[in-house]
């Protein structure tokens, strides 16, 4: 599943459907998924040391944290886009007013 995700993301970036900056976080998640399937040698002792009796639970915890961070990151991106979007629409409204004023003056100058 990790490999599948990794390939899909690489393909999306290649087709320029996915911006490289944003895809990094998903590639990291993909790599973690791939590694987690081989990591029973690390995960099992680590889980036991942490007092987790069922080692795969540790994997779920790690994935959970990764996903929470990914979502936080995307919320930040959305928030940033929202304020940029607001700025853009406000500037556009003000510019449109100036442009229509100039065109009005021009047309009245032509008529005179």
């Amino acid at each position: 599943m990790g490999i599948f995700l990794f390939i899909v993301i690489l393909e999306l970036v290649r087709r320029k459907k996915f911006r490289e900056e944003l895809s990094i976080i998903w590639l990291v998640i993909g790599i973690c998924l791939i590694l987690s399937s081989f990591a029973d040698r690390v995960i099992d002792p680590l889980a036991l040391r942490l007092g987790i009796s069922y080692p795969p639970a540790l994997v779920f915890i790690l994935i959970f944290f990764l996903l929470v961070f990914a979502m936080l990151y995307f919320s930040l991106v959305v928030s940033d886009l929202k304020s940029k979007n607001k700025e853009l629409s406000q500037k556009m409204a003000l510019l449109e007013y100036r442009v229509s004023k100039i065109t009005q003056e021009e047309t009245s100058a032509i008529k005179d």
Binding site: K82, S83, K86, S89, Q90, M92, A93, L94, E96, Y97
Partner: protein, 233 residues
């Protein structure tokens, strides 16, 4: 150019806008009028244009605060001295604008907020009353001045204030409340109140009705907390 700009943020107000514009013309003849059309899907923009006032069209709906801020930017660019904000839904009676102008001249304040509670009574639901009271108390604790109607969109601001609020991150996209009063106090602007009359909306369609009140209260607490936490620039 007149030194007063009446700023009317309007989102789908074609039903009332004509009346509002006539009332404003009749009562504040010395002012220029600007309608900020916040991505309306009805004829708001045409009605305003046909009435011969200045119109800014925001390409899509960005929210009440965003529309008001666009007007502040306009006023800053075209160097007006005062901005009077009036809602586009005929809730604010432009006759009261005189009170605001007078209060500003007499007290020398930077901002005068029109309050519907200072004189006469205005009926509203218990929950909303509690909300208004809560945030006005918080604002009072912080500023030392009593604000009876902190959500009021009927205000007069001088250039010092509106040019500050016109800057990118100084004004909320949705509804300004006690948080903005506190932020203005923090910037050492003097804020005061004057009585205005407001009409109850016939349809009961309030600015805050779409908002789930609970989320609104939480959000406002957060904004107020942020005002307190942010360092002065």
């Amino acid at each position: 150019m007149n030194t007063y700009l009446v700023l009317i943020p309007a989102f789908n107000e074609s039903a009332d806008l004509k009346k509002v514009l006539n009332d404003v013309r009749g009562n504040i003849p010395q002012a220029d009028i600007l309608v900020v059309n916040d991505g309306s899907t009805d004829h708001t923009s045409e009605i305003a244009r046909n009435a011969g006032v200045m119109v800014l069209d925001i390409p899509y709906n960005i929210g009440y605060g965003g529309a008001v801020q666009t007007g502040f930017r306009f006023a800053t660019e075209f160097v007006y001295d005062y901005v009077i904000t009036i809602d586009g839904d005929a809730q604010h009676d432009p006759v009261s604008a005189k009170n605001l102008i007078k209060a500003m001249e007499e007290t020398g304040a930077d901002v005068v907020i029109g309050s519907r509670f200072l004189h006469g009574d205005y009926r509203m639901g218990v929950a909303r009353k509690a909300g208004v009271l809560l945030f006005s108390k918080i604002a009072q604790w912080y500023t030392g001045v009593q604000f009876t109607d902190p959500t009021s969109g009927f205000q007069i601001l001088n250039r010092k204030v509106f040019s500050y609020l016109a800057e990118e991150n100084n004004y909320p996209l949705d509804y300004p409340d006690a948080n903005i009063i506190m932020a203005m106090h923090k910037m050492k602007f003097t804020v005061t109140e004057a009585p205005v009359t407001m009409r109850e909306k016939p349809g009961g369609k309030s600015m805050h009705s779409g908002y789930r009140p609970f989320i609104y209260v939480m959000r406002m607490f957060l904004s107020i907390l942020m005002v307190l936490l942010r360092k002065e620039e």
